[in-house]
Symmetry: C2
């Protein structure tokens, strides 16, 4: 079978560029899909650039690198194999060209030929035109994602909870994720914005966005219909949005506190992580927190033994004893980067709220439901 001449791509690139690009777009490769085309990486050579694209239909990633283009054209090749190969060719020039029904990749004295997949069947990434947009510092966006996305649901029972709600109002971007047992909320200021935005983005897509955010240049985030797009330098991520209404979470955040403790994050983390070791033997990872006399006592009991950890704290309000799933505290402490935290309790059957000790602007807030114990 001979291919039409416009597909007779021929291009020369540097291994270091190609391997980095393949590794980035590889994060959107479909795995074990029923449609093999989604396991392919698309190469497009034009205007002395080579663009690599991969998508699993939920997330798509596109990356453009410099190239000497002898013949413009396109090809789709098995993605995993291609990226594994080029990961081993960082220090050499790589020539790629279509010969017959193969993509021939030449390096040093060697070559690998890839079976071609159908360029026509490869799904195009959504184009966002006249979209709403905002710009934000990459570190701020990364931090916003990291502090919230881990609280998204992992089960399919309520699909909307597998996403993170992003709300942009008056230059304040609020991210919220919750799974029915705990909730994370974080707020950051954007730099510029065309309009307000309210969308639910799949947690997995946001994790990939966070992993690729770097540098000091503001990133452009665009939203249109069912897609959100993040533009980095030479890299573009496009994700589908989740459809449906997000939970009205504002009503579940308590506004009053009977007890508020102030604790060193490091001390609380160390003590809790030891208690969690034991609590893992319990179905609910159950630990009890008791605040009294400027001490927080963390206890857990299982068939394997028991543990009692004591942490000095400041206490305002009444003494309290309350039980939690230790995992939810451990998850929150992992991403909290403040030296001291405030934890507010409204009673033993009401959620706990964790905030930075000195926080005017709700930079983050974790809400954790207690476990009822007999």
């Amino acid at each position: 079978m001979s291919l039409p001449p416009e597909r007779n791509m021929k291009v020369l690139v540097q291994g270091i560029d190609l391997s980095e690009a393949a590794s980035r777009v590889g994060k959107a490769l479909g795995t074990r899909t029923i449609n093999p085309i989604l396991e392919g990486i698309k190469l497009k050579a034009e205007n002395n650039t080579l663009t690599l694209t991969a998508t699993d239909l939920e997330l798509g990633i596109e990356k453009t690198i410099n190239a000497d283009v002898a013949l413009e054209g396109e090809a789709v090749i098995p993605g995993k194999l291609f990226l594994d190969l080029v990961a081993r060719l960082k220090n050499t020039a790589i020539e790629m060209g279509i010969e017959g029904s193969k993509l021939v990749v030449k390096y040093m004295e060697n070559k690998m030929e890839f079976a071609l997949l159908s360029v026509d069947e490869f799904p195009a990434l959504a184009k966002l035109e006249n979209a709403d947009w905002f710009t934000i510092h990459p570190n701020e966006f990364k931090d916003l994602i990291t502090k919230t996305v881990f609280s998204a649901a992992t089960e399919d029972s309520r699909p909307i909870l597998k996403g993170c709600h992003l709300d942009l109002t008056d230059k304040t971007l609020t991210a919220v994720a919750l799974d029915g047992y705990r909730m994370s909320l974080a707020k950051r200021q954007v730099e510029k914005a065309s309009a307000g935005i309210s969308v639910v983005v799949p947690a997995r897509s946001l994790n990939e966005v966070a992993a690729q955010l770097e540098g000091d240049e503001p990133v452009v985030v665009s939203v249109q219909k069912n897609y959100l797009m993040v533009d980095l330098i030479h890299t573009r991520l496009v994700t589908r949005l989740l459809e449906g209404d997000f939970i009205n979470y504002k009503q579940i955040i308590p506004t009053e506190a009977q007890t508020t403790i102030t604790v060193s994050k490091a001390q609380f983390d160390e003590a809790l992580s030891r208690a969690y070791l034991l609590a893992r033997g319990d179905r609910n990872n159950l630990v009890r927190l008791s605040a009294s006399g400027n001490l927080l006592t963390i206890t857990s009991n299982t068939d394997f033994g028991s543990i009692k950890e004591i942490v000095p704290v400041g206490i305002e309000g009444v003494d309290i004893t309350i039980a939690f799933n230790a995992k939810y505290f451990a998850d929150a402490l992992r991403v909290a980067d403040d030296e001291h935290l405030k934890i507010a309790f409204e009673g033993a059957s009401k959620p706990a709220i964790i905030r930075p000790d000195k926080d005017k602007g709700e930079s983050f807030l974790f809400l954790i439901l207690p476990v009822r114990v007999l």
Copy 2:
């Protein structure tokens, strides 16, 4: 239930010592056994030392550390939980004592209590008395193990092949492992020896021995009846031996070669590892090697594409084309640390032999059976 007074152990140790010891003996902990006692670590305090022991009945590890012993005694506690806890207590003193039916571990202002398992049910490590023995430099022993043990069988169909044969004759220690498709052989000189030895040691036990070998002091290896014991400083490993006769492997090592190539290990490894990427798509990881005109050509073809790698080599003898499972070459190249290798072929249906280029004493030898192709 009150325990007899001789079990009222009370001891003070440093966290750094205890965590290192628990981590070492933890490698012999049973996992998912039907007998929970094998998931325990035994503590024995006497003579100002604390000895930790774990065993899964195949491998046992015992490690002794310094301790302030207030009361001598013994306890067995859930091993995984104990070692996870002490791994987080490296920078503190730790007091351990039996109180009632618990082992109470106190650190800083905190404590964890462990349920006690039965000291009487904990299996004693085999005692080797009047055993045959040899001494060897730890690096030499480690190298001998590393170069051979990966070739042992992983399937249960022939249990003896899950071990590594150790033969000591005239101060030459020979290790051999084979799985029916490839074989590794390595030889090292021991320092002193009481007698000749010929045993088959489980590969998994030898891997743990290799992982714990360190320092410059000769290690003492003892063999008696069904056990082999390795004595390191303050650490002792005892493993059961495999019963039965090992394969008579000497007859399968070809003595003549029609073709011998000399190749840079690094160049061969790089080329082969790229070919292996593609060959993984084939059930047999099939690659073809062709030696001709001072070039070694490595090729592989699968549904995903094809690869052709060329490596400069020296050739003595006739040209040859022969097919192999790339994995076996990749495994051997991973542990071969010589700059150049010699590969000898006796014909396309006979095994290949890999040796260091400059080797008088058979420091190692890998034998790989070819794959018959149509």
